[in-house]
């Protein structure tokens, strides 16, 4: 039997034009920059590349970036799951306000977010006297970087989970409870398995942003070499010192991270689609 083509197939010319425009755009704004990053990074040879990413300041920046992500991602997983759980499984006053507040970090420019933390936690800030009295240093130090990154990345996981959990409803949870399961057992055996792919997807995006965040971190870090420099800040410093190949070498690590994120992300998307499809059938 001959399968008829859909009635609304656009003309061949139009389709070709769309493909060409898309490819040209992708090449100009994604592929070329990526190539430039790697070619600039390797311009002075592999030895220089290795030196640039293993010298102490670079190593400290990498360590700080990884350290920040290791703290931020798990905390935001906990926060994201808790927020999505509350927002999708319960009805209460002020629910839509809370939903809007979760998006706040997307709306506030990162630099402003950084400034807010300086005004709040800096020496002359609102909580400055207390922090000075307690001899706790947050701004221009690692805790400040962690807090700013935490703020910037907290919507990522909640945003991934909310639509999925809304769609799934709470009948399965109610069924588990009626069968005698405790709240924790219900969460662990019923809720979590149903959201695990979306959760991983959100965690990957959260991690990418945590490692790549520049604006907010730049404001609160103070750019102290070997101490409060993350990788993006380190790249900027090297670049401002006209140390282009070293700057691009460290940048290439971030580019690798981006590529890895994209690959994992598309794998997860594929999984997520599949689990949604089976959910639709049931």
């Amino acid at each position: 039997m001959q399968v008829k083509a859909p009635v609304v197939t656009p003309a061949l010319v139009l389709r070709l034009a769309c493909v060409i425009v898309t490819l040209a755009f992708l090449t100009a704004f994604l592929l070329l920059p990526l190539l430039v990053v790697f070619s600039e990074a390797l311009r002075d040879g592999l030895t220089m590349y290795m030196t640039a990413i293993t010298e102490p300041d670079a190593r400290a920046a990498i360590a700080l970036t990884v350290f920040t992500a290791i703290i931020v991602v798990p905390l935001n997983i906990v926060f994201g799951v808790a927020a999505a759980w509350v927002l999708t499984k319960f009805e209460f006053r002020g629910k839509s306000l809370l939903l809007t507040l979760i998006d706040l970090p997307f709306a506030v420019p990162p630099v402003i977010a950084g400034l807010v933390f300086i005004l709040l936690l800096g020496n002359s800030g609102l909580l400055g006297p207390i922090l000075t009295y307690l001899d706790v240093r947050i701004i221009f130090s690692t805790p400040g970087i962690v807090i700013a990154t935490l703020f910037i990345t907290f919507p990522f996981i909640a945003r991934e989970l909310i639509p999925l959990m809304q769609e799934q409803g709470m009948e399965e949870e109610q069924a588990a409870l009626s069968l005698g399961a405790s709240g924790l057992q219900t969460f662990w055996h019923v809720t979590l398995p149903n959201i695990k792919w979306a959760l991983m997807y959100g965690a990957i995006l959260c991690n990418a942003r945590a490692m790549g965040e520049f604006g907010a971190v730049s404001v609160v870090s103070g750019h102290i070499r070997g101490k409060t420099n993350t990788m993006p800040l380190h790249v900027e410093i090297l670049y401002n010192e006209y140390n282009f190949s070293a700057a691009f070498a460290v940048a290439s690590l971030l580019a690798f991270l981006a590529l890895a994120t994209l690959i994992v992300k598309s794998l997860l998307e594929w999984h997520l689609r599949r689990s949604r499809e089976t959910a639709d059938q049931s």
Partner: protein, 358 residues
């Protein structure tokens, strides 16, 4: 295990889903909560289960085997609840779904692995899905999923079984099969069961007793025969199947409804009020000559003879269309033709006073 509720009210914002409802279900009964959507039947079922909480009121009681469980959480009430859309755990196999309620028990009360396996296999046998233990819910048909949901609820040896529109999402054939199967199952295990339905046929066929609900209140409780043949209210009369309705007035010795005059005493209504006459299609007859009972002239508009009854639509001349159901034998004896003038008689009537609701 009996179920008893007293003084149950439930409101959602301005909407009152239940208005001071009381009900007792005896041990081993199979009771239907029947009503249109929005009548509060599902809410009542969920309150019995503990999935919803009634409005706070010191007189409110929810008793399972005469023990007040109103303060107990759903997880400790030990009720088997079957959801309308099954709510099977989609990432677990059929086997794991059924075993779930046993596996989540505290270690002291949890049966051994072998005991769980034995029980799950017994339940799989009971629901006739022995070979499908390894399937996932998405790989089952609607009827199979419904049976898995039932087995999962039965696995915890519940005190009572509560089913929310158990056959609502299934097609007609599967519905009938599953209905018969559930009836046989209940005859076998005699667990006190309450199911919600909006299908009067389902309720009448399956239940020992039917609770008819409307707008948050119970209209009538009775056996299927009682609610069908002796409806207490107009709502029950209308909800139990198609009715022909005539407005009229009760006078001192007779009651007049359009073409019909009835003896007032037979209607049981006080004189001097407006009333309505209800007649079911199968409680009417068509005749060539009057047999002494009240008759009216009518014109045959349409005849539908496919099915167990012949449905004849009649026009009383006033534009009102009347539906009469006849047996094929009776129909063949009379042989009315479309467009023909004929007599229509009443074999059984019910009169309800007009309730003035302003």
């Amino acid at each position: 295990m009996s179920i008893e509720v007293h003084n149950i009210s439930k409101s959602y914002g301005n909407f009152q889903a239940l208005k001071n409802v009381a009900l007792r279900v005896e041990s081993g009964e199979l009771v239907a909560l029947l009503g249109p959507s929005g009548s509060g039947k599902t809410t009542l079922l969920r309150i019995i289960a503990g999935l919803d909480m009634p409005d706070p009121n010191p007189d409110t009681q929810v008793l399972l085997s005469d023990e007040d469980v109103a303060g107990q959480h759903v997880s400790s009430r030990q009720v088997g609840f079957v959801f309308q859309h099954y709510a099977l755990f989609r990432h677990m196999t059929v086997y794991d779904n059924i075993a779930f309620g046993l596996r989540v028990r505290p270690r002291r009360e949890r049966p051994s692995r072998a005991a769980i396996a034995e029980k799950v296999h017994r339940l799989l046998h009971l629901i006739q899905l022995e070979n499908l233990g390894n399937r996932y819910p998405a790989q089952l048909s609607g009827g199979q999923r419904q049976r898995v949901a039932l087995a999962r609820a039965l696995a915890i040896e519940p005190r009572v079984l509560l089913l929310d529109e158990p056959f609502g999402a299934l097609d007609a054939r599967v519905r009938q099969d599953l209905r018969d199967w559930l009836r046989r199952l209940h005859d076998e295990i005699h667990i006190t069961s309450v199911f919600v339905t909006h299908d009067q046929e389902e309720a009448l066929e399956l239940a020992n007793r039917v609770v008819v609900m409307n707008e948050g209140r119970i209209e009538q409780i009775g056996t299927p025969d009682e609610v069908f043949h002796h409806p207490k209210t107009e709502f029950v009369m209308r909800f139990m199947g198609h009715v022909n309705l005539f407005h009229g007035r009760v006078e001192s010795d007779k009651a007049v409804f359009g073409p019909w005059e009835l003896d007032r005493h037979a209607t049981g209504q006080a004189p001097g009020q407006d009333a309505r006459l209800f007649v079911r299609p199968h409680e009417m007859d068509i005749l060539r000559e009057s047999d002494g009972r009240p008759v009216a002239n009518a014109v045959v508009k349409r005849i539908r003879s496919a099915g167990p009854y012949v449905k004849v639509e009649l026009d009383l001349g006033s534009g009102e269309v009347l539906l009469v159901e006849l047996s094929h034998d009776r129909f063949n004896a009379i042989q009315p033709k479309v467009g023909e003038q004929i007599l229509v008689g009443l074999r059984k009537t019910r009169v309800f006073a007009e309730d003035y609701v302003i």
